[in-house]
Subunit: 315 residues, 4 copies
């Protein structure tokens, strides 16, 4: 038997506002909060480097490597390319810089063919520093790359809409949504929490105050042991539910939002993962029900198309 | 005292089917579900690279390295091998390609003897790219290798059969199976969950519907602190058990399956690990009991053969 | 409804003293305990290397690398620099040492231009060792660097003071403090525990014994699911509270300290993190309340300045 | 209030024996069980490489590297050292082998000075393989080294003896032991579990059967939030205790053993750690009590000597 739904304090997202706000959690899973004064990139570099998308990440890494090699090349140029064996000063600055740059790269990557090699103490010293610099950046990149790959991110797909639909053969309605694992692996020990955010009722009918009430919604079943297929998460709108007696229009008017966290053990990463998501009132749907989204083939194998998590039919 | 067994909703494996299905969890621990539309290899590369077996993994890595070096060799060949010092164009394409390939390898691995070295800007530029490419792949491989090694996988051996056998000196039967840790390390804080999947009873005796019922089976003891020897997991078939009054033939007819998850803390990896397994009705056995599978030698040392986890004797 | 506050045994910080002590947890989050006889650096090297600040860490690594290269250079010098191709013994010890040092660096970093190369078995042997040594240190540094970066450290900012302030519209006082996440990421499933340390009351009024009593303070809400904004943690000083009927002056006299641990799941690191903090009686403040520290802009976006976690106003 | 102690099933360590056994957990924390048929080194290599002590680990790594280089050197020798530039065949097998070995090392480490370089396709091919081989081993070693360092091992020191001593001002005895963290870091959220193993009482007074009974001992306090000082773990021997009315001699006769697991969050590694330990009856002591093992200096700083965890005094 599920726990009773209960009214709760602000769960960390803010309860009263000067004027109308947007939804709390955006469809992409980010919170609709702009935070100022957080740690800057220097103090939070690792976080930044492992969370930015791949395209800017590659751009940053390439830029750092290029800039480093340009600076070293410039230093070799200033010392004079005649201090690099195998290089004849050409009299043209650009040509000399290019030679210095190739020497820099051969040093930085520690490929060190030797066709170019440092002559004299100063060039040798700079080249020594650059070789260490290259090793360090290599160590650093290895760590960051591993950090990016091994971040345990679950990829849960939620049904596009949450359904307001009768609960089995009872007199109650329920609100239901369905999830599926987009990865090819198995999630274990998956738990769901659902909060409801709903604007408080005002004294004047039809008007609603700029104050949110929060409820912890009870679930028919709040955890499952594994998720090879899909999981339909159900809140029964019985007399104990904060949604009891509220129609869809009022839910929309009161800017209702259902905030969801799912966490489970990801067998690929060997770690717990969290996903958060929300359904805004405009994503609630009536007069539909979820239909079975898997088939059994002639061998007795179950076939599941993960995109069919959305599949509903009219009641 | 164990919790009471209870009927539960579909625990994420599907409850009703068009026609007869196979078992839910295969003997190798995989789920009997074919999932379509999951993330492709590009989007889920890390997962794929750390979960494929070693043989294909090595084949993939070798292929990528070979292909990369062939492509670079081809580029050097197109530019002309006369731009690699120490190489005399032979007039034979194959010989020149082989020379270019060795130069490519010496650059990619950053071994850079220097007997071959780039001449001219274009070859130097390509060689620079290749050296960075080699470093990157090296960083990448280090991370993937570590990811493969450090994935916390517990290796639990389950007894070949689950026994339907009288419980101690009571009037009740029980269903029992036994587990042992195949690794040489110690598992801590091990917890077991057992679900029962059994086809619903039809109105016509002898026929069963294509609908599964699920139960959370109560266990005599559902967790232990450490597992140096073996652990016999016991469900007592008392009046509260969904198995009460059902004989082995009916269990087979109703395609009964016992779904098991075990999780515990692996002291080698410092992380929690999960194992799942199932016994299908055809793997239930009657009139047997597990026997002690360890001996005490003359020094008072306990000797355990992990393969003896299966050891049973007739009642 | 929160659990009742309860008196507890010494929670691991010491209860009776010979004379007056300082606070238990310093403002920087360290414990006010000097521990003698802990593992030395050799036995606890990894811990030491990943927890020292960056400046000494870089100094240590640089010193180790420099020292290693100096030692190898010295060995080459003793063998004789004439055993390094491309080096002419200069007759000056310093010049020869510098040549040996550059050869050492080119070997250690595996850049190996080849303009300098070992001649003879002894120099070749030492150079072989040094190259392996370089690879080893590189592997080691990669691991340590990754260990430093990937340590999951949450950066929670606590309000400067804890407020002794009336609880909503009740007759009770409460003690409140507020927290915010300084990182740009989201913390999930955050839980708070608050212990109270207060010197025992003596028989003589106005005097207090050198013995601390500890209480587990009940909280209005001890966990939240996510923390995009701020979280105000509240202990209600009702009849069950150990703080009931004690004024601020007495709290100061009895060296009251509120010990706090916060833990939550950090989505960047994919791991649980812990923060501990304390408010000493001198950091309790009366006749203030926390005020809303976020604004809503015209787009309906919520703007939060993390530094405003301290914002209070007079009652 | 602590839970009641309760008799439990075999907690995974075996209950009945053919003849007398040794203690269950050895003083070094290992279980007194010899396991046969566990995974061999090939199948459990990572576990083996990260858990063997440093001395054999270094010996293994050195041997693998040496053996690899010897094999490659042998291959170069068989092909003929005249295919290595800079090497003149000496006519002496040993000298040629040594030259081949140095070439091998310069290739394997990718130092590649170039004073020696491969001549001809076969030698170039072998050298290419060796360079990749070197990179692979380097990647591998980096991962293993990191795995060894980052394994979260808590270093908890237990008092040498467990004390059978009166509990405060009550009429009850208690059994007490004390723990301290040997590392310089802080453990958080530490939980203790204590099992009692005691041979069953036989019908003949003075004789005891070869059957162990197990009990889950209730603790006065089973968890603490942090452990900057020491923690005294106490089981009160009241009427509910399985130890009630048993004197020390009988405990020894019945081969009593107290099995302990401690787990907590290690702030260095950011992970949970487990320690297990046991007190055998011969390590129980009467008529003693633990005394305060820290002092407060004139600055009000608390000084703790971790070795003083053993400090007791006569009652």
């Amino acid at each position: 038997m599920p726990d009773k739904s209960s009214k709760i304090q602000d769960p960390g997202v803010g309860a009263s506002y000067q004027h109308k706000t947007k939804r709390i959690i955006n469809p992409d899973g980010s919170f609709n909060v702009k935070r100022v004064g957080t740690l800057n990139i220097i103090n939070d570099a690792y976080h930044w480097l492992i969370t930015i998308p791949w395209a800017p990440f590659i751009a940053v890494v390439t830029s750092v490597i290029l800039a480093t090699n340009f600076v070293y090349a410039l230093v070799y140029l200033i010392i004079g390319v005649e201090h690099i064996s195998g290089v004849q000063p050409s009299g043209y600055l650009m040509d000399d810089f290019i030679s210095a740059l190739f020497f820099s790269v051969q040093t930085f990557t520690t490929v060190g063919y030797g066709a170019m090699a440092p002559i004299g103490n100063l060039t040798s010293l700079i080249a020594s520093l650059e070789a260490f610099n290259g090793l360090l950046l290599s160590a650093f990149s290895t760590g960051i790359l591993y950090g990016r790959f091994s971040r345990p991110i679950s990829k849960i797909k939620f049904s596009q809409t949450a359904l307001l639909t009768p609960y089995k053969n009872t007199k109650y309605d329920s609100i239901q949504f369905r999830v599926v694992n987009k990865r090819a692996n198995t999630l274990l020990n998956i738990r769901a929490s659902v909060y409801l955010s709903i604007n408080a009722k005002s004294q004047q009918p039809g008007e609603f105050r700029l104050k949110r009430d929060f409820y912890d919604l009870s679930l028919e079943r709040s955890s499952i042991m594994f998720l090879p297929l899909t999981w339909t998460i159900v809140h029964i709108i019985d007399e104990n539910s904060p949604l009891y007696g509220i129609n869809l229009k009022e839910l929309v008017d009161r800017q209702t939002e259902m905030l969801i966290t799912l966490n489970g053990f990801d067998e690929t990463f060997g770690q717990d993962t969290y996903t958060y998501f929300s359904y805004f009132a405009s994503e609630f749907e009536e007069n539909k029900k979820f239909i079975r989204n898997f088939t059994v083939d002639n061998n007795g194998d179950i076939i599941l198309n993960v995109d069919d998590v959305h599949m509903t039919e009219d009641l």
